[in-house]
Symmetry: C2
């Protein structure tokens, strides 16, 4: 029998993973990776950190953990894989089962027959078609070469604008500030990380980024870029007439899967625009697999396929594609939709559905928000995290979790992702035996406290109101009593405009000061004392009482100080 021929198109993340795994399954296979760019198998997610200088050397992004460069020689010697860089896959000939390629430097045409083909063509930044997007110093963060260009250009700029406030936009804003430049984000949607965070959580991120000096315009559409006489970008002009001076513009409005080659070969493309694959990462052609950013991923929570450009998913799918292409038989169970982001000292994470997303899909939800210390409050370095749970009301299942804070967020997000995968109810989450010691968590982990808060709401023990709702109600002049139940010193240092103080310890004695016929919103630092106060008021026959969830810590709007 002849050796199995496996061809992999794409040399970053899913591609090399699939090829390496195929080699481990079949030592005799003939394996080829075809990659358009010079450098393969680098960490695309590390680019913002190389641009900022947090990662010192470019080669760190292209080396293994042991320090070996993953170049064609490495693939040849260590993996016995033929890795062709600067080589473009031009056409997939499914009848002849071969891939036609062109070496970009020589123009040479090569033809690689395959028994199994793996498409891992990844994603590219979405282009926005606006006047001026072809000016000099307007670019995307597309690859390592483009990152090098950005690094170089940044050296001679002082003002940088980013169009798009998604993950890459936010990471790049940090990178630009790290280089001591002024960063401005312009986002068309009402808040940062649209679709990924709910408004209340996104506003907290916005607040923390503004505190670091980032200028943020949300609800703002860019209509034009203006240049100077040398054809260099000089100004962003927005739909509402704002003009933003800039010397460099990064377009970061999202990425889209690269599917041209697959499409041309007649391979089925899904509604989301990614290559259609089954759980074995098999495309509509059973001899062809696909993995990574170029496919649409299955999301069991929704029973739908969706796009997500994540190195973590690409690696998992690459392993599955590589296994099956080499004669194995494994399936990939799909994704939950987990992302995490560091912006300056703030950790942001999310998994599953946002509340807005769940509601848009017709789901009836209950949400809960709490602020908490990430470890025992007395342990040095203890920092705050604000968590939000989205729970399906009927089934009580956790369907989404978001977190933000200077404290440990990613841990809680990972537990949330695991709980969602396990289809756990919020009651099961509340009972999770999470690790406890003072350097790592309070006795009640923030996630447990959050789950209990959600249960209290589901069980009718607690009526909550979100900070965004409170703000809307205040702004529309509604008749609300904003009752702060913290200690006087806390209240003095900062408070919601228009709020009144009755410390929790005085509440039972002073309860008659509160009218029963008006709506009362109770406020504390993190949400727990307000809950305690609400229970007292309920016990005394106050029936229009709400707890502002997450307390002052979760309030993203201006506070009165001092």
């Amino acid at each position: 029998m002849q050796n199995r021929k496996i061809v992999v198109i794409g040399g970053v993340a899913a591609g090399p993973k699939a090829a390496s795994r195929a080699r481990r399954i079949d030592q005799n296979a003939d394996i080829t990776i075809i990659e358009r760019e010079e450098i393969l198998s680098y960490s695309g997610c590390g680019l913002p950190y190389w641009i900022s200088g947090v990662v010192k050397e470019k080669k760190e992004l292209t080396s293994t953990a042991a320090g070996t460069q993953r170049d064609p020689i490495y693939f040849a010697k260590v993996k016995n894989i033929r890795a062709l860089n600067r080589t473009e896959a031009v056409e997939i000939d499914r009848n002849r089962r071969s891939v036609l390629c062109r070496r970009l430097e020589t123009g040479e045409i090569l033809n690689f027959p395959y028994d199994n083909l793996i498409i891992a063509t990844g994603s590219i930044p979405v282009d926005i078609k606006i006047p001026g997007s072809d000016l000099k110093n307007v670019t995307h963060l597309k690859n390592l070469q483009e990152a090098a260009n950005i690094r170089e250009a940044l050296a001679s700029c002082s003002k940088v604008a980013i169009i798009g406030g998604g993950f890459i936009g936010c990471e790049m804003a940090e990178a630009i500030c790290e280089c001591a430049k002024q960063a401005t984000i312009v986002e068309m949607m009402p808040h940062l990380l649209p679709g990924l965070l709910d408004e209340d959580m996104a506003l907290l991120l916005e607040k923390s980024m503004r505190e670091q000096g980032v200028v943020i315009h949300t609800n703002t559409k860019v209509v034009r870029l203006d240049g100077n006489e040398e054809g260099q970008v000089q100004k962003i002009v927005t739909h509402n007439g704002i003009e933003i001076d800039t010397e460099f513009v990064l377009l970061a409005v999202g990425v889209r899967p690269v599917v041209d080659l697959a499409k041309k070969a007649g391979i089925a493309i899904g509604n989301s625009g990614g290559i259609k694959v089954d759980s074995h990462m098999q495309t509509s052609d059973p001899e062809i697999y696909a993995a990574g950013d170029c496919v649409e991923h299955f999301m069991p929570l929704l029973g739908e396929h969706t796009l997500s450009a994540m190195g973590s998913i690409a690696n998992k799918e690459g392993r599955v594609a590589g296994t099956n292409a080499a004669g194995g038989d494994i399936a990939f169970r799909g994704i939950v939709g987990t992302n995490v982001l560091k912006v300056f000292g703030t950790n942001v994470g999310r998994t599953g559905l946002t509340n807005a997303g769940a509601i848009a899909r017709g789901m009836k939800t209950v949400t809960a928000v709490v602020a908490s210390s990430d470890r025992a409050h007395y342990y040095p370095g203890s920092s705050s995290v604000i968590l939000k749970a989205v729970v399906e009301a009927g089934s009580r299942r956790l369907v989404g979790l978001q977190g933000i804070g200077t404290g440990e967020v990613a841990k809680r997000i990972d537990v949330g992702a695991t709980a969602i995968t396990g289809q756990m109810t919020i009651d099961e989450v509340a009972d999770l035996d999470l690790s406890y010691a003072p350097p790592y968590s309070p006795a009640m982990d923030p996630l447990i406290t959050l789950a209990n808060m959600a249960r209290n709401k589901l069980d009718g023990l607690l009526d909550g109101i979100s900070v965004t709702e409170v703000k809307k109600r205040i702004d529309s002049g509604d008749d609300l009593i904003l009752l702060d139940v913290r200690d006087p010193a806390e209240f003095e240092s900062m408070r919601l405009p228009g709020s009144d103080l009755i410390p929790l310890s005085d509440l039972r004695g002073r309860i008659s000061e509160l009218p029963k016929n008006r709506e009362i919103v109770i406020i504390c630092r993190a949400g727990l004392r307000a809950y305690e106060a609400a229970r007292i008021l309920k016990g005394e026959g106050y029936n229009n009482v709400k707890v502002m969830e997450g307390g002052v810590l979760a309030w993203p709007y201006p506070l009165e100080m001092g």
Copy 2:
């Protein structure tokens, strides 16, 4: 209808939690907490950090996150709960449904009738009956008062011995070193954290603690403590004749549930020695609930009840007991058995069953060990974690996870605890959509890599051998080829005694140097390259090839250097 009377015996962790929750459920209940000690509702788990000075003020351990002292006045004013400190519960009279108490300062006898009673009497250190255990400067870490005594005594000692190498023993060793004292641990069992870690992982902890200057004697039984003329402890004498000079001895051989009062009242005690409770935390007397260290907890993984003295469990159970005692109806699902520990810069965690524990219960298991960076290897601060999975062979279910390293361990342990709770297979764990960004994890989270390693073993792609097994085989003079496949520079800097080098990149070319008729153990830094090498050798017909799991990073024994 009369107000419901709820009496809670015990004022730390489970007790105050139950009382506070009962208050939130029923604003009219008459609620009393009875506590023997002066100070109630403090963080027992914080004591080592107060002794070491990491936590500066004692009051930080007794205050809420908002800084309020949780004293009887706080309970009265904020919670409308009568909290009696320095008050001993003398007898539970189940016929009259009342608790007889004595105020310790006045001798006054009080009687508290109850509709529902909650027993939260906690645990106390196990006494070891050896000659000399009544000498001066021999003590337990029993409570806040005893911690104060230890703090004071430490000021005038330079050498401190700890009998018992469990969690408290290890935490206290760090605390003592933080005070610039010499710490010695004497542990009767073969390794630290017996029952909680497998030997391979415990030896790594031992190694890291020795590097910090802690002297550790395992397999060593203390037979006698000798004192000086003033009756102060001076020396520990062990079964094998070792004499350890010391000025202070901390007995930390474990804790046992305090159940005397319950037992005397005829309440059922379980085989483990804790109070028997059902999922509602109800004892054999339906009017009496119990929660926290004094009960035996349900462990669904084993279908058994077990003891565990954890503030996290106590709080969860207290909430359940308080809810039900106040007329609510909720159940507690039980524990997985999760612990985490910080010793100097090393993080140690475990959840579920150890391999030794699983085997002792007749389970057929497969284990996997990997070493990995906790975040992208190029991201500053990236540190190593070594994880071990215990998988039930037939069902492929994850039943245990252990971790150790200077990197982020607790996050992976929490995910493991959640996965075990969700009865996930190792295949499901491998597909978990864990959060990825370079500051938080590599593209393949260490837990995902671990799960894949376990799958490879289950699927026959990989024969592993543990570091302890390799050591035993070397020590017994077995004919083994120890083949190191790292780069020459890595090999030069440190290696296993007796190992030979063929770098992975040369292996295909030099394969004929290796005989087919001898057993080959392949070694690399973390285990991944060795796996790659093993696949190459298998492909060439080498059938007696094993991968040393976790590589040099997981090797707890001396290495040859330079």
